[in-house]
């Protein structure tokens, strides 16, 4: 049975490799304890689809919301509600100065930073990530011209991801198209609102929106839905 032998050999080889990688990780964790990624838990969003898939937004990780501008604005307002519910503080870095508030009560816990362009917004997000005081940071790049988005170096997102790992903040980057390579989770949303939406309660619109969550596998994080399966596998 050469196939079976090959499989055994491969699994033994991979087992050795996995053990070595695990040892290397332990060594790095000992040498650089400050660089150890924190699995900071979950920020509950109140969005049924997102909470069902991941429990909420991953803390200490970068999430990309890739959607049309209407869904992005709706997401921001949904997050404002969640922030008030959690009684924590959030920041919105608005690269196009397009944020329009509609509910004064929910604004008290939101720090807004209006930026001149995308690069300035990335720098502002960098500062907020280093601060470590806020539970949710939203970088809104949806209304930014595509040319500005293309100018952001790809390593910027990896750097932000590294900073995010040192905090317990959930970081969401709102973009019109996928650009954040380092995102641990990508959320997309349906588009195509019609004028009838203008006659509905906003809370109903948030409930009606469909969010699709695509999570990247990462070390130390197991979505709640998979916990049982993992326990079964261990048993």
């Amino acid at each position: 049975m050469p196939f079976l032998e090959n499989t055994r050999f491969l699994s033994a080889y991979l087992g050795d490799q996995a053990e070595k990688v695990a040892q290397l990780r332990c060594l790095l964790a000992e040498k650089f304890p400050a660089m150890q990624p924190k699995t900071g838990g979950i920020f509950h969003t109140g969005l049924a689809d997102v909470d069902a898939a991941e429990g909420g937004l991953r803390r200490a990780a970068l999430t990309e919301l890739c959607a049309a501008s209407g869904a992005g604005a709706l997401f921001i307002h949904a997050m404002l509600r969640a922030v008030c519910q959690e009684r924590c503080f959030a920041a919105l870095v608005d690269a196009a100065r397009s944020f329009e508030p509609d509910c004064p009560a929910s604004l008290a816990r939101l720090l807004v930073v209006f930026c001149a362009d995308a690069m300035q917004a990335v720098k502002a997000t960098d500062l907020l990530l280093r601060d470590g005081n806020l539970s949710l940071i939203m970088l809104d790049l949806q209304a930014v011209p595509p040319r500005q988005l293309q100018r952001i170096p790809a390593n910027t997102w990896h750097r932000l991801q590294r900073f995010a790992e040192q905090t317990t903040a959930a970081v969401v980057v709102l973009t019109p198209q996928p650009i954040v390579e380092a995102a641990q989770v990508r959320i997309t949303a349906g588009e195509g609102w019609t004028l009838a939406a203008q006659r509905r309660w906003q809370r109903d619109l948030i409930a009606m929106a469909r969010w699709h969550v695509f999570a990247r596998r990462c070390v130390g994080h197991h979505p709640p839905a998979l916990e049982n399966e993992r326990e079964c596998a261990t048993a």
Binding site: L110, A197, L205
Partner: protein, 506 residues
């Protein structure tokens, strides 16, 4: 018991507080207002070189070529005196600012077993504030003062008669005529003076001789003129040359903060506000007040606030001096709520806000405040006060209707073709095409009672190719105020929407 704390060479000490490198050098102090009066005070190294107080600067420089002559600074003296009084306040609330560099403290009611240890503690406190002092403790203020003069550095007068007996007559600073008469009589010390009958002495030499006798006998009593502690803590420095870079300023600010933190600690206070003042070469002054988000006496935190600000500061003129004033407050106590997530480090957050303000401008960072008007886009950003927010109740269930708007700032000018009083075709730099459906008009106006009059007519429109926008007509001009939803690049309405909603045409 009374204590007198005396700072020898007070004016020179005040001038040298932040010039540590000059402590071992020959230094003299001169009043620039009265240069003819000569040198006011000199350092030990200058005295060893033969310089004497009262000499003119050419005379002094002839004796010691390496002599540094500093100008007298009243601000620095004032701050040194304030530091002295703050240390004295630790002993008793009844203190008298008797003269510059010299204060008297009423120690009655203070239960102390070891007066020497008490004095040593005071000396250590003053040494940490870069002040060298002498302290005398005695049963009355005059005796304590005489003891302070002879203290090295602390002298406690347990037996006044024994202490006074050996003192020379001139220690009491009598009038020169009186001193001459007494010397003629062969009286040179206080024991000899007090051996004379007081009444006979007054008969012959007058009432002044009687008062001198009482002081020599250690029998004088006088009430203290109590002073209150300063409500602000200040340190200042006058540069010898104009300063054009931030490094010397930061260096001095760090030293100031070290001192001010000690002074705040002595008064059991923390810094609530800091005011930085820099006199400039053109005669004006730069002033900036910083509110400490979470009042503290932590030097690193306070320094970071100043450092962050100075990093991005550009001045048109060079600085000639520096002053840092701290308004103290009590350390705050906060009871956190069980289900609340407060700011972990409010001071760090304040610093981040400073950096953000430097990056995007102060008017572009903060919490949104909606102005009390119906005029579109009437918002402003104000500095956040998350710490004062407390346990703000969650908005129960808000009544916002419709998709949130993404406002174009500034609005995009547009040309609109109107058919039957409704927009039918839109042309602009951002969006072009036929309009499928509209909602509106929504009219609003205000300010008609004054010159700031405004009026607008808003329409929500759905484009044939997808996308929801808000149009506004102001006067005869159309503009796009923002979008509710814009199709993604390349996506048109040909494909069925994922969240399908019935279209409404009017």
């Amino acid at each position: 018991m009374f204590a007198v704390i005396l700072l020898p060479n007070f004016r020179l000490q005040a001038a040298l507080r932040f010039r540590e490198e000059m402590h071992a050098q020959p230094v003299a102090l001169m009043d620039e207002q009265t240069p003819k009066a000569g040198l006011l005070e000199i350092s030990e190294a200058a005295a060893l070189a033969g310089v004497m107080p009262g000499q003119t600067s050419p005379q002094a420089l002839a004796r010691c070529a390496t002599l540094t002559i500093l100008p007298r600074s009243l601000t620095e003296e004032h701050n040194a005196q304030a530091a002295l009084l703050e240390i004295a306040r630790m002993l008793s609330p009844e203190i008298e600012a008797t003269a510059d560099g010299f204060c008297t403290v009423n120690l009655r009611g203070l239960r102390v077993n070891d007066w020497q240890a008490l004095g040593a503690g005071v000396m250590a406190g003053l040494a940490s504030l870069r002040l060298r002092a002498q302290m005398g403790i005695g049963p009355n203020p005059d005796l304590a003062f005489l003891a302070a003069r002879h203290a090295r550095p602390v002298l406690v007068v347990q037996s006044p008669a024994a202490f006074l007996a050996d003192l020379a007559l001139h220690e009491l600073d009598p009038a020169p005529e009186l001193l001459a008469v007494l010397h003629d009589w062969g009286i040179h010390n206080l024991a000899q003076l007090t051996s004379l009958p007081r009444g006979d002495l007054m008969d012959r030499l007058g009432p002044e001789a009687g008062r001198l006798w009482e002081r020599a006998a250690g029998q004088t009593e006088r009430p203290l003129r109590i002073v209150r502690t300063a409500v602000e803590f200040c340190e200042a420095f006058d540069f010898e040359h104009e300063i054009g870079t931030a490094e010397p300023v930061l260096f001095l600010l760090r030293r100031f903060l070290d001192q001010l933190a000690l002074r705040l600690g002595n008064a059991y206070r923390v810094a609530g506000q800091m005011t930085l003042t820099m006199p400039l070469a053109n005669g004006s002054a730069y002033e900036r007040t910083f509110t400490v988000p979470s009042p503290t006496a932590d030097v690193d935190v306070l320094f970071r606030i100043l450092h962050t600000h100075l990093d991005g500061l550009r001045l048109d003129h060079r600085a000639t001096g520096l002053q840092l004033l701290i308004t103290p407050t009590r350390a705050e106590r906060q009871q956190f709520q069980l289900f609340e997530t407060p700011l972990r480090d409010p001071n760090r957050f304040g610093e981040t806000l400073g950096r953000l303000a430097a990056l995007v401008g102060e008017e572009n960072v903060g919490v949104v405040e909606m102005l009390d008007t119906h005029r579109p886009d009437s918002i402003r950003l104000r500095p956040p006060r998350f710490n004062e927010l407390g346990n703000v109740a969650m908005p129960a269930d808000d009544f916002a209707v419709a998709l949130p708007l993404r406002r174009y700032r500034p609005p995009v000018a547009a040309q609109v073709r109107v058919v039957r009083h409704q927009p039918a075709q839109l042309e602009s730099a951002r969006v072009c095409g036929a309009i499928r459906a509209v909602l509106g008009p929504y009219r609003a106006s205000g300010g008609w009672w004054d010159s700031d009059r405004w009026s607008t007519e808003e329409w929500d429109v759905e484009m044939e190719g997808g996308g929801l926008y808000r149009l506004a007509r102001v006067g005869h001009e159309w503009r796009i105020e923002g979008s509710y939803d814009e199709p993604l690049p390349g996506n048109r309405r040909d494909a069925p929407p994922i969240v399908a909603m019935p279209s409404t045409g009017l």
